[in-house]
């Protein structure tokens, strides 16, 4: 082996990489927020008695879960581009991950909703709460409690998935920054090892933060 490690060279670029990590967290968090919102609607759609709603929700979930995430991001960048709708790399990446998140979360949420006894809804409705108020104040808070930890996994997945942005020309996130530095220096191993450590740290921090929030949020 005649490869000499140059860790100093990589470590000197750490600030740039940390900036990239921030962008990564930003994309992943936004995609998570959008994914949760759409995921809730899809879960209700799949449980709806309306066939059109049920079928379209199922189509979304099936596509998101059974095609590569890479293709989903591709689609929002090149696919929509060929119809004249041009998204910049950030938006295409965001849309792709949000699409994927929504599909996976919808299934998690559906399970969560089904785990809540129907008598809870009955009790709420009998007090005069409307169907919407019952969902917002009685059913969804209980559902989020049930699915909180599975949701954490999706957030981690969202962070890792965002590295795919590099294929649609994303240069500002952690992978994008790393790829640029690599292209300039050819210190492939050092930069990507350092990036991997940063991804690992972000994933672990997410889980730790979720534990703390969950602990604070869910009193019993």
């Amino acid at each position: 082996m005649n490869y000499t490690f140059h860790w100093n060279q990589a470590l000197r670029r750490l600030p740039e990489m940390l900036d990239g990590a921030l962008v990564t967290l930003q994309v992943a968090s936004l995609a998570m927020v959008i994914g949760v919102a759409i995921g809730v609607l899809l879960a209700y759609g799949r449980l709806s008695s309306n066939r059109v709603l049920r079928t379209s929700a199922a189509a979304w979930v099936e596509t998101a879960r059974n095609t590569p995430a890479l293709f989903q991001i591709y689609f929002f960048y090149f696919g929509l581009g060929s119809f004249g709708l041009r998204l910049d790399p950030f938006m295409a990446l965001l849309a792709g991950i949000a699409f994927n998140n929504a599909g996976y979360l919808a299934e998690t949420f559906r399970g969560g909703l089904q785990a809540i006894p129907p008598s809870q809804t009955r009790a709420a409705r009998s007090l005069g709460l409307s169907a919407l108020q019952t969902s917002v104040h009685v059913v969804l808070p209980q559902m989020f409690r049930i699915v909180f930890y599975p949701m954490t996994n999706q957030m981690v997945w969202s962070i890792l998935m965002s590295s795919l942005g590099v294929i649609v020309g994303m240069t500002s996130d952690l992978t994008g920054v790393t790829q640029e530095l690599n292209a300039r220096t050819f210190r492939t191993f050092e930069f990507f090892a350092l990036a991997a450590v940063l991804y690992y740290a972000m994933a672990k921090l997410t889980i730790l933060a979720a534990r703390l929030i969950g602990w604070r949020l869910f009193r019993t």
């Binding site: 008598s119 007090l127 005069g128 709460l129």
Partner: protein, 240 residues
């Protein structure tokens, strides 16, 4: 007044109520007794529109519960219901369980709702449990909380659906005491129950349900004290 007129109710092809007619006047306590599957619990769920009916009418203060265009959310403010499974909202503490509907449905401020809720919780003997989560309460306490939750909407009618059936025997008394107190205060109540002694003691009238029909209805001394129909006699023998 609650008017129940020739009500039929089916689940699929299974008819559980086969033409029930009865009236409950303001201030009256009417108990419904009968074996399981006799349709008595189902009738309560029909009265506040939680269950649709196939035939007949139910009117509450003249409002047809099952007519198209009836605002059920509004109607349900008049009618409190307490279930066999107390259905505490597990993510809310005792006070929040009780304030939820007054705040969201009646639009009261947090302070007004808290005041009302506290009053009712003190009334049912839970004044020292306001900030406690329901999972820390006994079944009897959760059931009394459910009663306070219904009362906080200032209903004109209270429906009790076998509220002591899921309780440990030693907890039944505290819930019945709460209901005694309500009836003494003049609350109009329909009480589906297996507690025959209690029914005899608090009711103005007792109705015996059997296979989806009322077989006997009248003063407790008659229906429980001196039943006429063989079905009523058999039932009372089996439970007393």
């Amino acid at each position: 007044m609650i008017e129940i007129e020739n009500v039929h109710k089916s689940y699929g092809s299974l008819e559980v109520i086969k033409g029930v007619t009865m009236q409950v006047e303001k201030g009256e306590v009417v108990s419904i007794i009968g074996g399981s599957g006799s349709g008595k619990s189902t009738l309560l769920q029909c009265i506040n529109g939680l269950e649709p009916i196939q035939k007949g009418h139910i009117r509450v203060d003249g409002i047809d519960v099952h007519a198209k265009g009836t605002d059920l959310n509004k109607l349900r403010r008049k009618i409190g219901i307490v279930f066999q499974q107390w259905n505490a909202f597990p993510h809310l503490n005792v006070l929040e369980n009780v304030t939820l509907a007054p705040r969201k449905v009646l639009g009261l401020s947090a302070r007004e709702a808290n005041e009302i809720a506290e009053k009712h919780l003190v009334h049912v003997g839970l004044g020292d449990k306001l900030k406690v989560m329901p999972s820390r309460l006994s079944g009897g306490q959760q059931q009394r909380m459910a009663i306070a939750r219904a009362l906080a909407m200032s209903p004109d009618y209270m429906l009790f659906d076998e509220v002591t059936s899921a309780l440990d025997p030693q907890l039944v008394g505290e819930v019945l005491d709460t209901m005694r107190m309500l009836s003494a205060e003049g609350m109009t109540m329909i009480v589906v129950t297996h507690e025959i002694r209690f029914a005899r003691e608090v009711s103005n009238r007792v109705a015996f349900f059997h296979k989806g029909l009322i077989h006997e209805i009248g003063a407790p001394e008659e229906v429980i004290g001196a039943p006429k129909k063989p079905e009523t006699i058999d039932f009372l023998k089996s439970v007393l």
